[in-house]
């Protein structure tokens, strides 16, 4: 089915561990984004990608790593998880960078203990 899917939906990990959140889209959108959502902060951009092998930092990139070897996948890795990275993470895709709406995945609720 066409769309954007994230996995896992829920994840609990320990401080210091590496964790990877997966994102897959079937629309062949050029742009993909990772946001985190926290109470009182709304949605904040972590990283985005314009195409395969092209990524750039967003508003809050520290502690995160992304890659995009294929157009349809955009994984987000927390290299050494901290409690401040407990959040809901949303992946999104769009035909345009900021000039049209983005389609969001279902989100991954990450808890770092």
């Amino acid at each position: 089915d066409a769309g954007i899917t994230q996995s896992p939906r829920y994840k609990i990990t320990e401080t210091g561990r590496q964790v990877t959140l997966m994102c897959h889209q079937t629309w062949s959108h050029s742009y993909m984004f990772w946001y985190r959502q926290d109470l009182g902060h709304g949605l904040r951009l972590i990283y985005y990608s314009a195409a395969a092998d092209i990524t750039d930092k967003g508003e809050v990139p520290d502690g995160y790593v992304v890659s995009r070897s294929k157009t349809e996948n955009f994984p987000l890795t927390l290299e050494s998880a901290t409690r401040s990275q407990t959040s809901v993470y949303f992946c999104a895709s769009s035909e345009s960078k900021w000039n049209w709406g983005a389609f969001f995945g279902q989100g991954t609720r990450l808890t770092v203990v």
Binding site: Y35, G40, H41, G42, L43, R44, L45, E59, F90, A92, K97, W98, N99, W100, G101, A102, F103, F104, G105, Q106, G107
Partner: protein, 111 residues
Amino acid sequence: GQQVMQIPQYQHVQEGEDFTTYCNSSTTLSNIQWYKQRPGGHPVFLIQLVKSGEVKKQKRLTFQFGEAKKNSSLHITATQTTDVGTYFCAGLADTGNQFYFGTGTSLTVIP
């Protein structure tokens, strides 16, 4: 840096009442987008406005972009329980490569 502020943060209305949320930017925007997020769900794109003074309607929802392109509003007429959720605006600054989401307005509709 440029920020997009939304008010109110929370709004409770009786079913059938109207609802309005406001989005204000410290700088001029090239566009403004609106999203809806149901409780426990993900943001869903509703609409984009790009022209000064633009007004667009989707059934009971009316979206407006200010003349100065620094503010926007979303008005819902005769709210229904299906309108429950958080409404976010998001704007692209026309001075550079900055796109920010507002903090959202959480709407509760009391049956």
